[in-house]
Point group: C2
Chain length 231, copies 2
DNA sequence: CGTATCATTGAAGCATTTCAACTATTGTGG
DNA sequence: CCACAATAGTTGAAATGCTTCAATGATACG
């Protein structure tokens, strides 16, 4: 069996659960990791790695936004995650990446050789636990997404997405959505048109306000959460 | 932060990846685990534990089929997994279970105290690795399900489900589907009617054959795989 | 300044859902 | 062991709502 030291794309956490903050508490275990890391940069729409690539490295987003996705042979695309600063991307894959990672915006990342990470994890229980925690968090997020795609209506999906982004944002009222509608659509299992129409509705209902390109203001988080909740 | 020794509901693996077999290779690490386990039985439709319950134990299915699911306040239900013999169910949850586990059929399981599992894992690298492998496998399965729900058509979903069940079956041509259409529907994000209509189509096309209640014969796995594949 | 990409809006088509009725099966109590 | 009740599967018809197709408008970028 292959090595499975899963370092993982730390996915969007479910609402009402802070994802990054409690990670900071264990920051020292992660900064230790940084000793074997190297900064890499990547331009918008460039691939960090492709599905099927040998998983030699794993990454942590330092700045910018990255998407984990897969292209299907019929041309459609499936977006599994948006990765924001602090999130890990990488290799729960056996030997190869199961998802591609592409830069939504110009991005800066920390790159860690997987072998090194495994060595450190083997020696450091705290780091090990932290990495496991990340995998579990990702699993929870994936299951949450499963629920969203399987049971929620388009409006609920978009509302959930916004609530999720709000929960992850530094300022919960002020969202920056650097990804395109197509990205969001492929993430939520909807077409671009449907996503936009729903955002239009939410705007008309004064629930959100579009302040600029990629800038959204949440005016009524309560209503938004009510719309989101079918979970 | 809570303990996150994630032992995990080993989900249905994606097609073309054997899930249980390679696990047997590391069986000794798992049999060691059995020293702290206890056999428990559960009747059809009974809950092993509920979403929100304190996650004191984790389980391994010995016989029967279990579903991991969640009930939404609007009455609908979301089935995350079907767990078959050899699969682990349990606690990637922080302190509480995130999903309920209910018996699809009368079932026998091995129950392990989580604290004990964590102790053993801390001491045994092989076991640790094995459990991590299980978590990662589950994550992969959840992402696969995400793709299915987000991108695939109803026919593709049902075909995928059958291919998946075939891949997990001892005899790939002979499937036993103990779960109800409602279970399958909630798993695939479809209504009972749609599931049944599609199964009817597949039967009419001689791709499958329903030999008895809960018994399906796969007559044309190639076509089935073609129908399933949008991934 | 022009081009390519992305967002927006409209209208039509179609597939799944929803609703409803009926049949079959399972299980239970008499 | 039969009969009835409850659950599950099946089929049909209508409705809804998302997708698809198409065109326009806005924005970023060369």
């Amino acid at each position: 069996m292959s090595d499975a030291l899963g370092v993982v794309s730390a996915a969007l956490s479910q609402p009402h659960r802070v994802a990054s903050l409690d990670l900071a508490m264990d920051g020292d275990a992660l900064t230790a990791l940084d000793r074997i890391g190297r900064i890499v940069s990547i331009a918008r729409d460039q691939a960090l790695f492709l599905e099927g690539d040998r998983a030699k490295y794993c990454f942590k987003v330092v700045a910018g936004t990255v998407r984990s996705c897969r292209r299907l042979f019929d041309g459609s695309r499936y977006v599994a995650n948006f990765n924001r600063p602090g999130d890990f991307i990488g290799l729960n894959a056996d030997e190869v990446h199961r998802l591609s990672a592409e830069a939504v915006t110009d991005a800066t990342l920390m790159r860690y050789p997987r072998a090194g990470v495994e060595q450190m994890a083997a020696a450091q229980p705290r780091l090990r636990r932290l990495l496991l925690e990340l995998v579990c968090r990702n699993l929870a997020a994936a299951q949450q997404q499963t629920l969203l795609l399987g049971q929620k209506s388009p409006v609920e999906r978009v509302a959930s997405f916004l609530v999720m982004m709000s929960a992850r944002s530094n300022d919960p009222e002020h969202l920056s959505l650097p990804m395109t509608s197509a990205d969001i659509g492929d993430y939520l299992g909807l077409t671009v048109e449907t996503v936009n129409r729903i955002i239009g509705q939410l705007r008309a209902q004064q629930i959100i306000q579009v302040s600029g390109p990629a800038e959204v203001l949440v005016k009524d988080i309560i209503t938004l959460e009510n719309l989101a909740e079918a979970a």
